[in-house]
């Protein structure tokens, strides 16, 4: 649904109203920062990416197509800014050995996972997330954490819906494989 109040705020920004800028920043800073954080993986870079994203958005506000949702447009800028930031840094591949091994049944690792303390669960989820590439991390964060529909994720990332589906499927399998591996072999390191 089109947000008419937001449209008015955007018009005010175009009329050089600083208070309107503040309203938009306060409304979206949390999501923009979170998305950036999940991709770049540290607070300092995430803050820089989030700030740059807002600045780019304000600078190019005239080119914003009012038919689309402002939030989707802003998240797309954030996604592109964060991904290009990670590309500038050296990518450290952290793959586990591709030795085929039997994956734990879902019910079994679910039970093992629930036995862990909250802090350990956080560590495990963070560890398996860190095994994904920057854009895969962004995709699963939007899909699982923010519960965004595939269509919106496709708009934000600039991928087709079927491509998003395939990438999420691959990421899901990777997460499953890493979690299974972790719960089978490396729990003593975490515990």
């Amino acid at each position: 649904m089109k947000d008419e109040i937001e449209d008015i705020v955007i018009d005010k920004i175009l009329d050089n109203d600083q208070a309107a800028c503040r309203i938009i920043i306060d409304k979206y800073k949390s999501f923009v920062f979170n998305l950036a954080f999940r991709i770049v993986n540290n607070r300092e870079d995430a803050e820089e990416v989030a700030q740059d994203s807002f600045i780019k958005a304000f600078k190019h506000l005239e080119s914003f197509n009012r038919k689309a949702k402002f939030s989707t447009w802003l998240y797309r800028i954030t996604f592109n800014t964060a991904v290009s930031k990670t590309r500038k840094k050296k990518v450290v591949k952290n793959e586990i050995n591709e030795v085929p091994e039997a994956l734990l049944p879902i019910a079994s690792f679910d039970a093992s996972f629930q036995q862990l303390k909250e802090k350990q669960q956080q560590q495990v989820i963070q560890l398996i997330l860190n095994k994904l590439s920057a854009d895969e991390k962004a995709l699963v964060t939007m899909y699982y954490l923010e519960e965004m529909p595939m269509e919106e994720i496709a708009e934000i990332t600039g991928l087709s819906k079927s491509n998003v589906k395939v990438k999420i499927h691959r990421s899901r399998q990777k997460l499953y494989k890493h979690l299974s591996h972790l719960l089978k072999h490396e729990m003593h390191d975490i515990l």
Binding site: N16, R22, E47, F58, T141
Partner: protein, 138 residues
């Protein structure tokens, strides 16, 4: 087989959804985040306030471009025509007028050339700024 696979996918989706939401806390930006963005906006040329300021009105822009256009036509004409010559079959009144303005381009009266050079230089800078703005968009 397909049903089993879909069933597994759904279970995995449910597992990851629940546990991501349970364990991944929402990260919040610093308290000064908004002020920092506004400060950056005001400090840099990226400020929407600066961007949206009308430097030249549309009418002035048209007058400016017309002026440059006329100058270019005059320059081409005077580089080819010989004063007083009616090779170009123009009405005498226009030839007289052009002859009059030809004086502006003489070596002792080159202020018009100077103004047009400055204007063209300024216009090139504006164009360069537009190009840079497009390139810098992520």
């Amino acid at each position: 087989m397909k049903t089993m696979e879909r069933d597994n996918q759904q279970k995995l989706d449910a597992f990851f959804r629940v546990n991501f939401q349970k364990t991944l806390k929402k990260e919040l930006p610093s308290d000064e985040f908004t002020d920092k963005v506004l400060h950056k906006l005001n400090k840099t040329q990226l400020s929407p306030y600066k961007k949206n300021q009308v430097v030249f009105g549309r009418k002035i822009k048209w007058a400016f471009f017309s002026f440059i256009g006329v100058l270019m036509v005059f320059s081409v004409y005077f580089s080819l025509a010989v004063p007083g010559d009616n090779t170009y079959q123009l009405p005498p009144s226009i030839v007289n007028l052009l002859d009059h303005y030809a004086g502006l381009f003489s070596s002792t009266n080159n202020w018009l050339m100077f103004v047009s050079a400055v204007a063209l230089g300024f216009w090139s800078l504006m164009l360069l700024d537009k190009v840079l703005q497009r390139i810098s968009f992520g």
